[in-house]
Symmetry: C2
Subunit: 400 residues, 2 copies
């Protein structure tokens, strides 16, 4: 079947043709994609209320337009990753019902009962199960796709299957390169520009640390990672947490996913400094955020080690001291990646609504500078923190 | 064409069929393969003296037999690597004339005018051009196949092309795993066994350092490496140095090739302690070996940096301080890999004739223990040496 761009009506035809809904069903379909890259349809059967999501890749970057072409093959990476993750972390990723690689299309579980975590966090919503769920998701997907567990031949075949050049390139450029100079792709708050020009872009030492992290991203094939695990890639509710949008998946540094979550929590944490919220509520929510980071990270380490002790196959994994060395590296790298992500979301191409929701340019600038400085401190001191509590303690000392 | 195992006569038919020699040519062909894995024929035209090498992979490990099957696809990796290396380092690898992937066959330059470097070194032969040549080979092949130079998409496609699972697995097992316990694959001098059991296999700290290196080998996709660059994979003469046997090639840690050369030189260095050679000649040859190591390594660094300064494409490569950081890592890792290789050649599956040529078991054992202890010291102190001269100085202090 040749690729064509779907519409509400061709989507309905398609889901009936493949037998997902009966021919006589009355369906309601709407396009709801608000991401940067794809079409997303929710198809609902009126009689039963049964619904599915149909996601189709467009042959260009939606947020920019046809001038930025992007291969629709990314759907293959997304579906391949989803198939692996749903085995390793059932219930923590959307269920996949159907894929059609020619049409660059995936039909999966409708998660509209849940809210995008970022949107919830902007409303000070708390997710008490998040540390438990996300630590399981990461401990299971990162451990069981690493050389610690996999046969080295299977692992290498997985590396080949996930050579995701185009989407990796986006990360390489937008996270690790462009924010460190006056690149065209940057999206800069005019009030922030003087700080970038006079201060931030002159920080050679920060650029050096980012270079080291970029190189890890380019060369360190540790685990099958989600690759874009920010709070806008997570649906959450009281009882559920679901990571989606795995099109950036590839075999890369495990700490990347771990750190991205932390970075996004810290962006939300600082963002309240630019908003008119009752101070007591802000303090309370900030305490909740730091507790979540501590809980999430410590549970991740505990579960990753438990998987290791139970299921590590490679002999090297059993050498005394190696586990500690490995977890130490993940900690340092995760802090580095967290910082890199905080930086790129301030003046790189893609921002976070947490901060961009601050309409006053000056106030927004102040928050952005605070986040850039906090990120810098975390990046530069990442080898000195004793544990995650030392990091969140620093955050609280700086901003509360 | 379906695979069949060649003989002298089918080789002659084949080279005529593809027009490499005229039908009426009188050829002399002999099988000369003494390696572990393949058939190697030298085909010579009697009238002109023109000759070529025909290398064919066998579907099993030659040195073990049909009980250890091995995919003939390794010829594809060898030919693919050779094609890239011959562009980057012309004259430092054999010229490739013809490949037939179905037959797992490569026809290439006959290098019998040169000697296997290991054989020459056992006879105290000196190779004055070696540091110059080998440093060029490594600086050029390792730099121009790294993310420092290559477009990140091309680099990733190269990673996929060189997913060389079977031959990597051999290295993972035989270098980084089996020598550290009483594995069946080990090939142990009976006189050495008590030392291994009572001392060597109890060194937990050494196993931990090797685990770190194994993990780098498994996950660090830096450059297209030769993958088996010992002195038995190098032909050399007064004026020429040629690296061959690239079937282990894959995208791995750059320092692996760099260190393997050093480790093989040091094995030869110590081996003289078990041989009846005139002390003056031994001292002289040892001085030559250490000078060669210093020269080779320093030239490698100089040329790698020169390539970098001239041709680095990625922005990260230009960040101040990043080159120094990168070269520092290569140095530390190269010393680790050198040590790992010295260890595996003492009691792992594959040995070096340098030491195995010592017929007396006791004398051989003494040399083996000296090498194991030297390797341990290099491995454990690899982060402390200031430069390569500090390493060779230590070697001379220990053994001279």
């Amino acid at each position: 079947m040749e690729y064509f761009q779907m519409t509400e009506s061709t989507v309905e035809e398609y889901v009936k043709k493949i037998g997902m809904f009966a021919n006589e069903s009355v369906l309601a379909t709407r396009e709801v994609g608000d991401g940067n890259l794809n079409l997303v349809f929710i198809v609902k059967e009126e009689a039963t209320g049964k619904s599915v999501v149909v996601k189709q890749a467009l042959p260009y970057v939606r947020v920019v337009g046809e001038s930025w072409p992007l291969s629709i093959d990314r759907t293959i990476f997304e579906a391949n990753a989803l198939e692996i993750q749903s085995k390793l972390a059932k219930g923590l990723v959307p269920e996949i019902y159907h894929r059609n690689d020619d049409l660059a299309l995936i039909i999966m579980e409708d998660l509209s009962r849940l809210e995008l975590m970022r949107h919830g966090m902007i409303k000070m919503k708390k997710y008490p199960k998040f540390p438990e769920h996300m630590s399981t998701f990461l401990a299971d997907t990162l451990f069981y796709t690493s050389d610690l567990y996999m046969d080295s031949e299977d692992k290498k075949k997985m590396v080949a299957k996930f050579i995701n050049t185009e989407l990796c390139k986006i990360t390489e450029d937008l996270i690790f390169t462009d924010p460190y100079f006056d690149a065209e792709s940057n999206n800069i708050n005019p009030a922030l520009r003087p700080y970038l020009e006079e201060v931030f872009w002159k920080k050679q030492y920060l650029r050096l640390e980012t270079a080291k992290l970029k190189y890890k991203f380019l060369t360190e094939a540790q685990s099958l990672i989600h690759g874009d695990l920010h709070t806008g890639s997570i649906f959450a509710g009281e009882e559920e947490t679901v990571a989606f949008d795995t099109e950036f998946a590839f075999v890369g540094p495990s700490a990347f996913d771990v750190g991205k979550v932390i970075g996004n929590f810290l962006i939300n944490y600082v963002s309240w400094s630019g908003k008119d919220e009752e101070p007591g509520k802000v303090k309370d929510y900030r305490d909740y955020l730091l507790d979540s980071i501590n809980g999430y990270y410590n549970l991740f380490v505990k579960k990753f080690k438990a998987n290791w002790d139970k299921d590590a196959k490679d002999v090297i994994a059993k050498v005394e001291g190696y586990q500690a060395h490995y977890m130490e590296n993940i900690f340092r790298d995760a802090l580095g990646f967290a910082a890199a992500v905080m930086i790129r979301r301030m003046h790189g191409l893609a921002h976070n609504l947490d901060v961009d929701g601050i309409e006053n340019e000056e106030k927004r600038k102040d928050v952005q500078i605070t986040i850039l400085e906090l990120a810098e401190e975390i990046m530069m001191d990442r080898y000195s923190f004793e544990n995650i509590e030392a990091v969140t303690k620093l955050v609280k000392e700086r901003i509360y």
